[in-house]
């Protein structure tokens, strides 16, 4: 069937216009805003005052921002290790021919379908509660009074506790990606290995891992995007406390104001908020490029 150019245009136009208005224009405008001081989110362009790289310079000397960037780095690194280890473990188990695979897969993915607001509530008010909570009860039962008395939600431990709860809610997605990759590896490879007398561990390290390199690279990039955009849990679990602050949430505070008093003195410069957004985006691009470079491959393995 011939499809005329006007039909193509008619079908594509709404989505393309929407993309230009909602993605391209705001991205360019945010980049522009990062070079201005802007008193109010509703300010017209004529009220902006150009300050060059001042926003960037000030952020790099702002201890709140530096602390929040350090937090997000820890989320990326420590959280990344936890999530990848568990995602790999579950993906490997699920592709090893367990009974009831689709049930287990849906179960591990379940926390990803629950809003962070609810996950934060059940972790904060049940798992980590210091009087009737899950961890206290379990450790008390095991006779580990030192661990049972740990105040999981005190300032000292809040970040670690949040990271554990956050990882629980994120493992499923990365497990699915890795599992999908593992199941695309043809069975012949494993059968051949079996004939050669390879054990399950040898098969995993010699066949699964090397062939999974592309999927793993993509998984790491997606984790980087997720981790550096870390935002919601700072509000729902951390309740705006400095221990759980991330650049994403700091940006929100800069633009829309803070509820807690800690951040109030430094609030409100929309330009600085846009600058944080630009820094987040650039960091994602740079880290993704590094990951792609490290996992580059001279010869593509086709299978």
């Amino acid at each position: 069937m011939r499809i005329t150019r006007s039909t193509i245009a008619l079908f594509l136009l709404p989505a393309v216009v929407l993309y230009l208005c909602i993605f391209l224009y705001p991205t360019v405008r945010a980049l522009l805003m990062s070079f201005f001081e802007i008193p109010n989110i509703a300010s017209r362009m004529s009220d902006w005052s150009f300050i060059g790289f001042d926003n960037y310079w000030q952020l790099l000397h702002n201890s709140y921002f530096i602390d929040s960037a350090w937090n997000v780095f820890k989320i990326w690194l420590i959280g990344g290790i936890i999530v990848m280890v568990f995602a790999f473990l579950f993906a490997a188990i699920l592709s090893s021919g367990v009974k009831g695979k689709s049930f287990w897969r849906s179960l591990v993915y379940l926390p990803n379908t629950v809003t962070p607001v609810v996950l934060s509530v059940v972790w904060l008010h049940y798992i980590f509660n210091s009087s009737y909570g899950f961890l206290t009860t379990v450790f008390r039962f095991l006779g580990l009074d030192g661990l049972a008395d740990l105040q999981w939600t005190s300032d000292d431990h809040l970040f670690m506790s949040m990271l554990i709860a956050y990882c629980f809610g994120s493992i499923g997605y990365f497990m699915l990606l890795l599992n999908a990759g593992m199941e695309r590896i043809p069975h012949d490879f494993y059968e051949a290995a079996l004939l050669e007398g390879a054990g399950p561990l040898t098969k995993f390290f010699r066949i699964t891992l090397p062939l999974l390199q592309d999927v793993f690279r993509m998984t790491l990039v997606l984790w980087t995007i997720t981790a550096i955009n870390f935002f919601v849990w700072s509000a729902t679990f951390g309740q705006e406390s400095p221990e759980t602050m991330t650049p994403g949430y700091y940006m929100y505070i800069k633009v829309f104001g803070a509820k807690s008093s800690v951040y109030q003195e430094s609030a409100f410069n929309v330009g600085a908020g846009a600058t944080v957004g630009v820094i987040i985006t650039v960091s994602i691009l740079v880290i993704s490029a590094i990951i792609n470079f490290l996992f580059r491959r001279q010869e593509r393995l086709e299978y």
Binding site: M1, V108, V117, G277
Partner: protein, 271 residues
């Protein structure tokens, strides 16, 4: 032996999940006193936790808001994304790569970066403060991913279908609506499930764009109810409020989990 060990992490995860959400459900029918004394049902079942939420906390209204946002945005996304995905998935034309790259690039733009200019734009267009605000935001932000996923579905439909439609005298628009859409239905459903979960659970956009209390979403209302109840020490109420948000998506998930899992797999293999 090694065969059995494989099941250990799975059963641990199962037990933990049951304990986590099971306790929350039980506690939501208890009292704060019962929760702290570890005797949840010493004074019987308390449905009042839920009644308070719907009577005094307006949870019904926020529930309705979330339903309105989610359903109308899911439909809106399909209206915009399906025709574009159809063209990208089936028709070769000059500039196709460019359009494709465009939608893909949108997937890597952080939502946080665009919220500030978008908010300004909405303020200047006087689009804030109503239910429509978030519906528009949710439609716009979910279109690129949906185009990306749907074009895969459209490209897998056999070519003969359109040809026979053309022989029967259907124009391109009519054959799209009458022939392609029904055939692509599984894809449309999968995409809508993704969008449904993303929109129902969204917090960022709701926090920024629903600045009028009447337009709050369920997740947003839950957060402020939880904060209020934490201050007043109403722990049973906190759990009840969470369950109002959790249970509907959980029930839905039981029915559709297979589709979600295969949908992500499709996206992963393509990406």
């Amino acid at each position: 032996m090694a065969n059995k060990i494989r099941y250990v992490p799975l059963y641990l995860w199962l037990m933990f999940t049951i304990v986590l959400f099971g306790f929350a459900i039980l506690a939501s029918f208890s009292t704060t006193r019962g929760i702290f004394t570890n005797e949840l049902f010493e004074s019987g079942l308390h449905v009042s936790n839920y009644l308070v939420l719907f009577k005094d906390m307006n949870m019904g209204r926020y529930f309705l808001n979330s339903v309105i946002y989610t359903v109308s945005a899911c439909v809106g996304v399909l209206v915009v994304a399906a025709p574009a995905a159809y063209i990208l998935g089936r028709v070769r034309f000059r500039g196709r790569r460019l359009v494709e790259t465009m939608f893909l690039s949108a997937l890597s733009i952080p939502a946080l970066l665009i919220t500030i200019p978008l908010f300004t734009m909405f303020v200047q267009l006087k689009l804030t403060g109503s239910l429509l605000t978030l519906v528009l935001i949710y439609i716009c932000t979910n279109v690129p991913f949906s185009v990306f996923l749907l074009s895969g579905f459209f490209s897998s439909i056999p070519k003969e279908l359109e040809e026979s439609a053309a022989i029967d005298g259907c124009g391109p628009v009519k054959s799209f609506v009458k022939v392609m859409l029904p055939v692509a239905q599984p894809g449309l459903i999968t995409v809508s499930i993704f969008n449904f979960i993303a929109i129902w659970n969204d917090y960022i956009f709701a926090l920024i764009f629903a600045n009028n209390p009447k337009t709050h979403t369920l997740a947003l209302a839950l957060q402020s109810i939880v904060q209020g109840f934490t201050n007043s020490g109403n722990y049973a109420g906190i759990f009840a409020a969470s369950m109002v948000v959790f249970v509907p998506t959980f029930v839905l998930y039981i029915f559709i989990s297979g589709k979600i899992v295969s949908g992500i797999t499709v996206g992963a293999v393509k990406g």
